[in-house]
């Protein structure tokens, strides 16, 4: 027994070193897999507040870029206005519909909520984005997030009172977005291999599909996170995989992860209903 104590005293520094290393690795494994470490919420609140202060200054320097992107969004919205389209005269006459817009509420599936980006990273293998909107502002875990140019950015993975953390598309371990080729309609999954920011990988597209450089990749609408047809990226490189029947496709993301200032969070109002049904079906088959 005495020898054990002597041993511990003699090598106390080394043992402490091993202990701290193991604890760090434990943090890496648990926190990055489950995102539910006890301290994450409080840490969010404190670091989030400091980040917000810094962001106020940074925003000022990006005003011009933000303006440009807003002009572009406005242009797109203007182009969808009713008066842009003229139907040829027919026998029908235009009647002003007396239906109240509010009565459409129960058919609404998606609701968009805006948020500012408070912190962002692109240089790690698993990147997270922090936005300045949280539980008290109607955010929930599992909402999809897009940027001003309609490009997919990520999915909300954690919420505190006033801040939320997103799993960015640039997250090697956990980012999987169900997507499809806009032209052919083949369904695949968009992931990131951790090498180059803004270049993502589309997997699961069979060699029978017609894919060319420049094709658009959009969300499939099969997951409850995103509506159908949100831009994910544009194909930049197509190579056949040797051992499988699939293509290995590189795509350039529509969202520019180096310059994220404002994002829109998509609230799928039917998400709970769909998930409930799925759970029921799964329980039955067990």
């Amino acid at each position: 027994m005495r020898n054990i104590f002597l041993f511990i005293r003699r090598y106390s520094t080394f043992l402490l070193f091993i202990l701290l290393q193991l604890f760090s690795i434990y943090l890496i494994v648990t926190y990055n897999k489950y995102h539910q470490a006890v301290f994450s919420n409080t840490a969010n609140q404190y670091t989030g507040k400091i980040n917000t202060q810094y962001n106020k200054i940074e925003n000022y320097f990006n005003l011009k870029k933000t303006n440009d992107s807003l002009v572009k969004v406005n242009e797109r919205l203007y182009n969808t206005l009713k008066q842009d389209f003229q139907l040829p005269d027919t026998a029908s006459k235009i009647v002003v519909d007396s239906i109240r817009v509010d009565s459409l509420l129960k058919y609404r599936r998606y609701n968009y909520l805006h948020a500012t980006v408070v912190a962002n990273s692109v240089s790690n293998q698993n990147n997270y984005i922090v936005i300045g909107r949280g539980k008290s502002q109607q955010l929930k875990v599992g909402m999809g997030v897009i940027d001003a140019s309609n490009g997919v950015v990520g999915i909300v993975s954690e919420v505190s009172d006033d801040f939320s953390v997103l799993i960015s598309l640039l997250h090697k371990k956990d980012s999987r977005i169900s997507s499809k080729l806009f032209k052919g309609g083949e369904i695949g999954t968009v992931t990131w291999n951790g090498n180059q920011p803004n270049i993502l990988q589309l997997t699961g597209i069979p060699k029978s599909a017609k894919v060319a450089k420049g094709d658009s990749v959009v969300t499939s609408g099969y997951s409850t996170y995103f509506p159908k047809g949100m831009m994910v990226g544009i194909v930049t490189e197509v190579t056949p995989e040797k051992s499988t029947n699939n293509f290995a496709i590189n795509i350039k993301s529509t969202a520019d992860f180096y310059n994220l200032q404002y994002v829109y969070v998509i609230d799928n109002l039917q998400q709970a209903a769909i998930n409930d049904l799925l759970n029921k079906a799964e329980k039955k088959s067990q």
Binding site: S12, T13, L16, F17, L20, Q21, F23, S24, I25, Y26, L27, I28, V29, Y31, N32, A37, S40, A43, N44, Y46, T47, N51, Y54, A119, S121, V122, S123, N124, Q125, N126, Y128, V130, V165, G194, N195, Q196, P197, N198, Y258
Partner: protein, 177 residues
């Protein structure tokens, strides 16, 4: 200024600079400079080694909290804090020089070359361990190597510039106390 106050101010400054300035720099979308480890390099010679490890852990953990990925920087910081005394013993010129000065610098390490070898070794070990943990696998070794070497080069450049800009006055203490 007392050692405690000085190091507390450094702690805050290095964290803020790393998070808000350097983390926004991505050269060729590959390398990010890390300056914050200078805090650990500059810790006093005579500090208890267990305390050094604990402080390094808290320091790395604070940075991790800002980046929302816990453990990576803490592990790398603890590693270099652990091997730092060995390098000091190896590189310091004469017996007892570490009790004449308070903390590692060009003067106290006896010239530019030993000090440079000291910071270069710690920087490259820190970066290699950090990127290895981030990748979580030993595949794609060329990418890993390029990332480590490039980041090390940029970090070293920044560290030397910092060293030249902020000339730390090192008082010579006699060891007869």
């Amino acid at each position: 200024m007392s050692t405690l106050v000085k190091n507390s101010i450094r702690f805050i400054l290095f964290i803020l600079i790393q998070v808000f300035v350097l983390d926004n720099i991505h050269l060729h979308k590959l390398a990010t400079p890390y300056l914050y480890l200078l805090f650990i390099i500059w810790l006093p010679f005579r500090m208890n080694r267990s305390w050094q490890l604990l402080i390094a852990f808290i320091f790395g953990f604070t940075l991790d909290a800002f980046r929302h990925s816990f453990g990576f920087h803490a592990a790398a910081c603890v590693l270099i804090a652990y091997i730092r005394p060995y390098f000091i013993n190896l590189l310091i010129p004469q017996e007892g020089a570490d009790s004449n000065y308070e903390e590692p610098s060009i003067k106290s390490m006896g010239g530019f070359t030993p000090y440079f070898i000291f910071i270069a070794a710690l920087t490259i070990i820190h970066h290699a361990w950090l990127f290895l943990l981030e990748a979580w696998q030993v595949g794609n070794s060329w990418y890993f190597l390029a990332k480590t070497l490039l980041s090390t080069a940029i970090s070293l450049l920044l560290i030397i510039i910092t060293e030249l800009l902020f000339n730390r006055k090192q008082k010579f203490k006699t060891n007869t106390i």
